[in-house]
Amino acid sequence: MPTITIFKQDLEGLLAGPGEARQPMTLEQIEDSLMLVKGELKGQNPDTGELRIELQDSNRPDLWCCEGIARQIRVKRQGSLPKYGFLSTKPQSPKQLNVTPGLEKVRPFVAACTATGYRVTKDGLAQLIQTQEKLAEMFGRKRRTVSIGLYRLAAIEFPVTYDLVKPDEAAFTPLGMDTVMTLGEMLLVHPKGLEFGGILAGQDRLPFLCDAKGRALSFPPIINSREVGEVRVGDDALFVEVTGTDLSMVVLTLNIFAANLADRGAVIEPIEVRYPYKTDLGETVMTPQDLGRSRTLPVHTIEQALGQTLGVHEVAKALVAYGYEVTTEAEQVTVTLPLYRQDLMHAMDVVEDVAISRGYADFLPVMPSQFTVGGLSRIEDFSDRVRALMVGMGFQEIISNILGSPQDLRDAMRLEGTEWGQLVEVDNVMSLNFSALRQWMLPSLLRVEAASNRAFYPHRIFEAGEVARPDSAQALGSRTVMVLGGMIAHADAHFSEIHSCLDTLFYYVGQAYSLEPVQHPSFLAGRAGSILSEGKRVGVIGELHPEVLERWQISVPAVAFEIDLTQLAERP
């Protein structure tokens, strides 16, 4: 979900179209219109007209820029999308871009066009750069699948070559530097080389773009040449290229740039890309190119999903007003997405666009009417009963994080190297404090006790909740278990006090139990027991070991028990 910056006056200008007078909008109008693009106004600066907008749809990269937002709103206002001329007019002798053999194994695809007649403004340049960055970062997976280059057309002679060279075979002055470097050197020292060099790891030859005179354009997907590849305010002739590993994504990205520049008044001239190998679009590919595949669906499907009868005409009208090309026939529509979209995977994607185009407010909510019986799971129900009993015995309930540290969950409990100390641990640790799932409840209770020596005594606390225990017999390698932990802490806390609570609890849940002495490192020897029920260990009870209390910096005695609710709840 990218968040982008646009300028209000730029948006208004794009809504009016090149050369037309812009109509100022209020913020409310803008916020309303943003529904069409699943956008949310996150912030604004009334002095500069700056607007921060979050775009939700990760499948609509065309909307991650001012041009795209304006286009979607404009289409709705005008009722349809005018056809982009550059898609149908094939130039007599198109400019060419030749691809060198071997790139199919490195970075196979490229698409390019020129844009002339639009003088780049400050706002326009800011959008070009932001779009380039957002698309390469989020749609192009950090330039891995798609990266984009913009150049000053005047300095380029065609045909351009998408070449493959050894690291020391080509050299130029990259953006952000003032000396000539080889491609190999750029990977080693240029910030972008360091950041994105991993994409080309293991390649002994590297992608390189140069013009007919051998002048360097760029080292895709790393960095442009400073000489040719730095667009400035006032430039009125641009060359745009996109390279990558997925042909349809590469073409789509170029289509978005072409549409954006055309919307600003530029004339787009397609370029013919000539591959020495086969691609899904052939060996000679004109770009930009409309990849839209048509899809036919019954109006009934759409009406059923929306729960509303609309009729073929209304459906078609809504889709056309959202940028689709639509033909109708009896009770079905055949739809094609505009060139800047490729997100039509399923009929339901069309359904949503009908709803958005008409506006969600157009659909009257209807209550689902079918009868269903509500209820809790057996374990939740059991746990609720047990919680009520604990409350009745004067215990205060607490809630804790399930993620904790091995230090708290195991080491401070003296459980290193024991069966009780086995943990489900996190691999990609961000903070040691949140690096393992709790395997039992007592550390959660001790955490509260350790922080609460100012709260008046006695302390009687409990928590019923989930823990995770490693278990190699499970497909997941662990089991999620609901347990109950209870603890009493005060100057005279004693085994029999907590034992009474356990006894009462078992009485009221209607199950029998017995205690069997256990050597558990967290408890004082001779004052700890395994809780047995129907021959199974279902928990542990005892006086906390002084060393455990010391490690938690607790200075009153504490007694506690823990029982496995999952096991008890499953019994008939």
Binding site: M345, Y360, T372, V426, D427, N428
Partner: protein
């Protein structure tokens, strides 16, 4: 205060003192007489007398101040070990018989006396002519007696027996006593002179009335506590129960109670059950398959990054994933399979699907339910603990509850989805005004974000929902439309609980947990 409530407010000690006057209300009694007839300890008596004086029920008739002489601790020691003046004189006399030279230092060290004590004694003896200081600072006895030394011996003996009135001593003795009495700045003296106050007390007019009243109602013994014995033998009838000052602050207790946030979630749970939802549960550790693949999130989706999800260290992968779900989901990702979708068009990685993660979204629980032949029509919910790879701060918690669920049925469509959300708005947030906005979730289409006008909070986002994509439902074996919904309740909970930091929902501060009231 009228007389009967005045009597009710009297402490038992006060009643005892007043009662001694009952037989003779105009009597003037000495403190000693009062002590005798009331049978109270001196300390109790003096407390009761002070209270009654303060209440103006008792008045002082006469007050006689008598100076009394008694021994201090030092004085008691002198009785046994003799006073410094006696010891200095004795040492000088002994030196005279043996002919040894005696210096001041000798005396000091031999007798263990303080320099001030020695010099005081020598000064007095010299003045009385019993001692000379000769060349070299040596002391020499003159053989003459010291009246002071002799008088002190006598006085120590006399006062040692018991304190005596100052008047009973002669002028000369009084002088000596005064010279050797503790005064400010001079604590090491044998005598103490104290004023003994002898008071005679009588009833005030109000006191007489109270005493009369007391005698009239008969003096019931006052008790502070009703006991089993009093009830058993019926003797409570002859007792008066002391009245309490009930306006005092009550002592604190810590009741057993639910955690306020948990109570909030319980209320939500109850509401959902009352709306016909069945609870579902799932494991904390999930496969990427159920957490993401089954929800049609492509394996290259940015939210599946190492920076968004917690991965499990050991084991790293599940041993298996149930079929036919694995194959069908893989197919849906690759080319849509039988779902009517084009799919994501990439090679699905089964090893990746088996990777273990900490559940990052409650929707994983719904995915399991879809695969487990759910009821149609059916409504399900879960309040699932989820984990997000986030820096913890006031608005981000690393583990949190997600309230989410599904609704299956032949009648499910976009409008019934909105109807269901309306119901949530009314039941859960008590909101009458609702706004629906287009939204994006990888697993639903169409998708909705619901904003409601909360009675206290104003417009807020309450949740997100949508119809599950066919790419989600069909591979899991569900052929009817399904609503997927999720509610964001933490903000409501925080306001209800009066906290501003999401970390406080899981606070370790017992005082805060105890004192926070319930919510919703």
């Amino acid at each position: 205060m009228d007389i009967s409530s005045l009597i009710d407010s009297l402490h038992p000690l006060e009643v005892k003192v007043l009662s001694t006057f009952v037989s003779n209300p105009s009597a003037v009694l000495q403190t000693e007489q009062l002590a005798q007839s009331s049978g109270l300890e001196p300390s109790q008596l003096s407390m009761a007398v002070e209270w009654l004086l303060a209440k103006s029920l008792l008045a002082v008739d006469t007050e006689v101040v008598t100076p009394m002489v008694s021994l201090t601790k030092v004085g008691e020691q002198y009785v046994e070990k003799h006073s410094p003046i006696e010891r200095v004189l004795a040492a000088a006399r002994e030196a005279a018989t043996t002919g040894k030279r005696l210096t001041i230092q000798d005396i000091q060290s031999r007798e263990g006396l303080e320099p001030a004590e020695v010099s005081g004694a020598i000064g007095r003896l010299k003045k009385e002519g019993a001692l000379l200081i000769i060349q070299g600072g040596c002391l020499e006895s003159t053989g003459r007696p010291s009246p002071t030394a002799e008088a002190i011996r006598g006085l120590l003996q006399q006062v040692h027996e018991m304190p005596r009135e100052m008047q009973t001593f002669s002028d000369a003795q009084r002088q000596i006593i005064q010279d050797h009495a503790v005064k400010r700045g001079n604590a090491k003296e044998p005598f103490r002179i104290d004023d003994r106050v002898a008071r005679s007390l009588k009833l005030s007019a109000a006191g007489m009335e109270a005493a009369q009243q007391l005698s009239k109602q008969g003096v019931l013994e006052e008790v502070s506590q009703l006991t089993t014995e009093l009830l058993k033998d019926g003797s409570w009838r002859t007792k008066r129960f002391r009245k309490y000052t009930i306006s005092l602050r009550a002592p604190r207790i810590a009741p057993g109670k639910k955690h306020p946030y948990r109570e909030f979630l319980d209320t939500v749970k109850t509401k959902l059950v009352s709306m016909g939802f069945q609870e579902m549960r799932g494991p904390l550790v999930e496969t990427e398959f159920w957490n993401m693949d089954a929800l049609f999130m492509p394996q290259f989706h940015p939210a599946r990054d190492i920076h968004d999800v917690y991965f499990v260290k050991e084991p790293k992968q599940a041993t298996s994933i149930a079929e036919p779900f694995l194959s069908r989901v893989a197919q849906a990702h690759q080319d849509g399979g039988a779902t009517g979708s084009t799919g994501w068009n990439y090679p699905f990685d089964v090893a990746r699907a088996r990777r273990l993660v900490l559940r990052s979204q409650g929707t994983a629980v719904s995915a399991h339910t879809l695969a487990a032949q759910p009821a149609v029509p059916g409504k399900y919910f879960s309040i699932a603990r989820c984990f997000r790879y986030d820096q913890v701060d006031a608005t981000h918690a690393t583990d949190f509850f997600q309230v989410e669920g599904i609704v299956l049925g032949e009648d499910i469509n976009f409008r019934t989805l909105l109807g269901l959300l309306n119901l949530f708005a009314r039941e859960v947030a008590q909101a009458k005004e609702v706004k629906f906005l287009p939204a994006y979730f990888p697993f639903t289409e169409p998708s909705v974000e619901m904003h409601v006008r909360h009675p206290k909070l104003g417009w807020m986002e309450l949740g997100g929902a949508g119809l599950f994509r066919s790419e989600v439902t069909l591979p899991l074996g569900v052929t009817v439309p399904v609503i997927a919904w999720g509610l964001g309740l933490d903000r409501m909970a925080m306001v209800a609980l009066g906290i501003h930091d999401i970390r406080e929902l899981f606070t370790d501060n017992l005082d805060l947990i105890r004192s926070t009231k319930g919510a919703l």
